[in-house]
Amino acid sequence: CDIDILKEKIGEVLLPGDEFVFESEDTIFLTDNVKPERPVCGPGLRQSGNRLVVSKSGVLRHKPPHTFWMDSQQWRYVPAKAETVIGIVTSKSGDIFKVDVGGSEQASLSYLAFEGATKRNRPNVQVGDLVFAQFTVANKDMEPELVCIDGSGRANGMGVFGGGGLLLKVSLGLVRRLLAPQSDIRSDLEQLFPCELVVGMNGRIWVRASTIQQTLIISNLLQSCDTLTAPQRREQFRKLQKGGL
């Protein structure tokens, strides 16, 4: 079958320009129950007709039944709909806050997009505050828009936060690995010491532990996780657990 060509390459490193051609069938039998399997392309893959072209270098990943995407290392964030990010409020003008999310353009956040906010009851947001929000509008042609409520009007963990913690910038790959359902890094961190983590998909992580020293240790660990292999990382965690600082 055609998708098998792609399935053979799962876990391999591919470069932009690598192409996969699917043979298209000239006749489709209406009595057949089997539909030809078309792959669903995620980030880093582009489809045109029966050709699939890789557009970003990385590792090919697969989620059954037909979803494929390129897992690439990147530092610069490009806004995408429904992703939750950490933004820094840069200005307040009238009814809208301008928020820096690390992309090519600043996003806009309406003051009514907070839980329990009305025209009389404005949220307490100042310039320089950190907000955890999600994108409702994020495409290449329009200015991105953020909200701090979900579909039913509840905050659900979003909103203004900060105070006493440290904000760091890491690669997008590390953030995705932290947010994955069975995350090794997160389970290793849980065994170290209790801390509060806010992870934004734009590569920003906010850390707060019970003392400043522990906060700094965790932030240094997270930044080094980008360049360490899994065994090296576990070695570092083990050294810290034994008490060597």
């Binding site: 876990g11 490193v13 470069l15 932009p16 320009g17 192409e19 880093g44 582009r46 072209v53 557009s55 970003k56 270098s57 990385g58 590792v59 690439s72 290392q73 990147q74 530092w75 610069r76 490009v78 992309g103 090519s104 353009e105 290449k140 042609d141 790959g173 360049t227 360490l228 292999t229």
Partner: protein
């Protein structure tokens, strides 16, 4: 940051973007690519500007710029050492930097320089001394999908047949460069696989 080496010639490339762009420079349907080539000594002059244009046009053909309208991409090339074949070294460094930054590309490209000596023999990737003694010097940018010539920059006098021979030599030499790209990217991702 990517360090491109061609023999002793060495260029460091850095890519920034997609970032905010000045309203005067923004293009409504695609990204604005700016290339800055800094020589090792002295300020950038007219020669660097023409080399920047060659690199920029090649990059614009390979990148998918329509994915980032009204944004800017900046590519900065710093010459660390120049011992001949500078433009092709810049092209190689630029391609690897763009690929490493995670920008969407339709194909990869590489630069190959050919020099035609006084006795008519073709030298690939000449050193500065060989370039000085050559009667013609050509740099080609070759794409990775169909090995076609994307950009050519030539100096000196040569016949049509010599030009075609040089193109063939460059296309053959580009295989090694693309294999090097593949090996480098494999090494980069081997830690997190």
């Amino acid at each position: 940051m990517i360090d491109g080496r061609d023999g002793d010639t060495s260029v460091m490339a850095g890519v920034y973007g997609p970032a905010e762009v000045k309203v005067s420079k923004e293009i409504y349907d695609r990204a604005t690519l700016e290339v800055l080539l800094q020589p090792k000594v002295g300020p950038a002059g007219v020669r660097e500007q023409s080399q920047e244009q060659c690199v920029r046009e090649t990059c614009e053909a390979a990148l998918l710029l329509s994915l980032h309208p009204r944004s800017s991409l900046t590519l900065i090339l710093q010459v660390l050492h120049d011992d001949g074949s500078l433009l092709s070294c810049c092209l190689n460094a630029a391609c690897m930097a763009l690929m490493d930054a995670g920008l969407s590309m339709s194909c990869l490209f590489c630069g190959v320089t050919c020099a035609i000596g006084a006795d008519g023999d073709i030298i690939a990737d000449p050193t500065a001394a060989q370039e000085k003694e050559s009667r013609a010097l050509m740099t080609f940018a070759i794409d990775s999908t169909e090995r076609r010539v994307m950009m050519s920059s030539t100096k000196g006098s040569f016949s049509v047949q010599e030009l075609q021979e040089c193109v063939a030599v460059s296309q053959k030499a580009s295989e090694k460069v693309f294999q090097f790209y593949r090996d480098s990217v494999r090494r980069r991702y081997s830690k997190n696989l």
